[in-house]
Amino acid sequence: MDNWRKNPRVFWILSAPPALWLLGFFLLPLALIWAYSFGHKEGIIGIAISWTPDNYLRALDPLYLQIFLKSFWFAGMTTAVCLIVALPVSLAITFAPARWKALLLVLVILPFWTNLLIRTYALIAVLRTRGFLNAGLESVWDSVDGVARAVGLDGLGAFTPPQLLYNNFAVVFGLVYVHLPFMVLPLYAALDRMDRSHLEASLDLGAGQFRTFFSITVPLAMPGILSGVVITFIPALGSFLTPDLLGGTESQMIANVIERQFKSANDWPFGSALSFILMYITFFALALRAFFSRGRSAMDT
């Protein structure tokens, strides 16, 4: 394509509508929220922008810091579990026969074709006290119990379904379920691009499969792993629906707090400040990623 400087008119005509759209519906509201974050409530619906740092200082209250920490913990756990699950999955897709690959990739992104709300309610149906998972556990329990009694042992007693819903486990489980494709896709892209002869050379030089995996495959797939970590961690950190529906009172994340400020608590300035803190953290994560991949490409060239 030509340099846009050669055709400034075409460039401006083509880029004006999206630029205006972004300005009007993205940057302006963002700027407004940013301004609110330095304001205070006046009356019931009024907000006065007084450039006070109070909202940010209030966010440093241990109560909120703890929720930030918890959000980090959930997002970190989610990212780690996703990575551990996605690595073998993407390896399997990479080394699957060519005609299976497309199908397997479709299976990975299939959940995206269903609304998140519906998927989350489906998870509730699986995890609740009388849900599918517990029903399955119960039937296994009962048959073990039956066999034990039949051979004259004491048996296991009555089945008490474990609480799988409305706790931290349910939130991380749900987050992993939602974010897994975000991890699998960049990993697959990196692994598929990788030159197979490097793996073969490693085997040829006497390394076993595990050694080859950790010494060659993982380092070569590192750009993909970094991408996967970042694009899993960031949306997981800001998750709202999953902790809202699957979590208990102890497993609220920062987005739930923000939502409360805008709705029930009606404290827009504080909600705005919390939102911006979340955004700064996100920027920081992206900057870290850029830093690391810069280091890598400097090494490569």
Partner: protein, 359 residues
């Protein structure tokens, strides 16, 4: 040529490899490769050279047949347990490791002690003349240097057999010639059996002790370079190696062949009746002003074209019966007399230089 060549280090018996949807890549190949030999696999693109090599390395599992290395059956032995190492066509030098780490990798993963590693890596660096570049990353190396890293990385393992898959194809002509010499010297120095894949016949002829010529997954002929050049057995090999005047014909079974476009000629030795190929090297073809004495197979021809190549010239002529014949004339003195285009001459060669080939 190395001396200890009585001991077959690689024995391949009826190896077959078929890829789904592709013609058989390796088709009933049986070969013995001897200890200390510099063995070349030569053939056109897609004839199965790489596949064969990968079967030796254990990276491809043969559908049928068996492979013995150092007397041991390799069936079910994974690549990391085989006494062979490979230099990949793309070199496959690990991009995230320094030269040093690349060369040490194969020793580290097999639990060689640190002091031993250091010593052997130093030796290998010396051998391939990479001293001083240990700390470089692969991206900071030239093609020739990368190739040496790949070579050192394999040699440091002291394999019984070193496999080289077109190791020189990525290099420019000059570096390539230098590396050919170096490889031969290196092989003499370390005494390891080298099996090299190439589709450059000059490379194979000048480097190898023996050459296997492959076509469509089959081994057509295995012979030392001079024998391969002077006594090709089949039409394919004669055509593939060097320049050649080639004809089709039918042997009568009593020492004569009716050659298409040439007529009947006498052949050395005997050949059973049937279709044969007839060939003669251009440098064996002599040009005469008049009909040569008996003992020569000669044809009255007209000169079509002359191509000057410095040390030699190619003379292209057509016989009265319409067959094209090429002759190489050495320009032995500055005023070598060459015929002119359109001249009427005789092209002839000694009857014993006629090659009779399987079709």
């Amino acid at each position: 040529m190395n001396n200890a060549m009585n001991n077959a280090i690689v024995q391949v018996r009826g190896a077959v490899k078929t890829f789904a949807g592709v013609a058989t890549a390796v088709d009933h190949v049986s070969l013995d490769i001897f200890e200390g030999e510099f063995f070349a696999l030569l053939g056109p693109s897609g004839c199965g050279k790489t596949t064969f090599m990968r079967m030796l390395a254990g990276l491809e599992i043969p559908d049928r047949g068996e492979i013995l290395i150092d007397g041991r059956d390799m069936t079910g032995v994974p690549p990391n347990r085989r006494p062979v190492n490979m230099v990949f066509q793309s070199y496959a030098v690990f991009p995230h490791m320094s030269v040093l780490a690349n060369i040490a990798y194969g020793l580290k993963v097999t639990g060689v002690g640190a002091a031993d590693i250091r010593r052997r890596v130093d030796e290998a660096l010396q051998l391939v003349q990479l001293g001083g570049l240990e700390q470089r990353m692969p991206a900071q190396l030239s093609g020739g240097q990368l190739q040496r890293v790949a070579l050192a990385r394999a040699l440091v393992k002291r394999p019984r057999v070193l496999l080289l898959d077109e190791p020189l194809s990525a290099l420019d002509a000059k570096l390539r010639e230098a590396m050919q010499l170096e490889l031969v010297k290196l092989q003499h120095a370390v005494g390891i059996t080298f099996i090299i894949v190439t589709h450059d016949q000059q490379e194979a002829l000048s480097m190898a002790d023996r050459i296997a010529v492959m076509e469509k997954g089959k081994v057509r002929q295995v012979a030392p370079p001079a024998e391969l050049y002077e006594y090709p057995r089949s039409y394919f090999v004669a055509d593939f190696i060097g320049k050649m005047n080639l004809f089709h014909g039918r042997a009568s079974g009593d020492g004569a062949v009716a050659v298409e476009q040439l007529g009947e000629i006498k052949i050395p030795g005997n050949s059973s009746a049937g279709r044969v190929g007839i060939a003669v090297r251009p440098e064996k073809v002599k040009l005469f002003r008049d009909a040569p004495r008996p003992g020569f197979t000669a044809f009255k021809s007209t000169v079509d074209n002359i191509a000057y190549h410095g040390s030699e010239s190619y003379v292209f002529a057509t016989t009265e019966s319409g067959a094209a014949i090429a002759a190489t004339v050495q320009n032995e003195s500055r005023d070598s007399k060459l015929p002119a285009v359109g001249d009427s001459i005789w092209c002839g060669w000694r009857a014993e230089d006629t090659l009779v080939l399987e079709e």
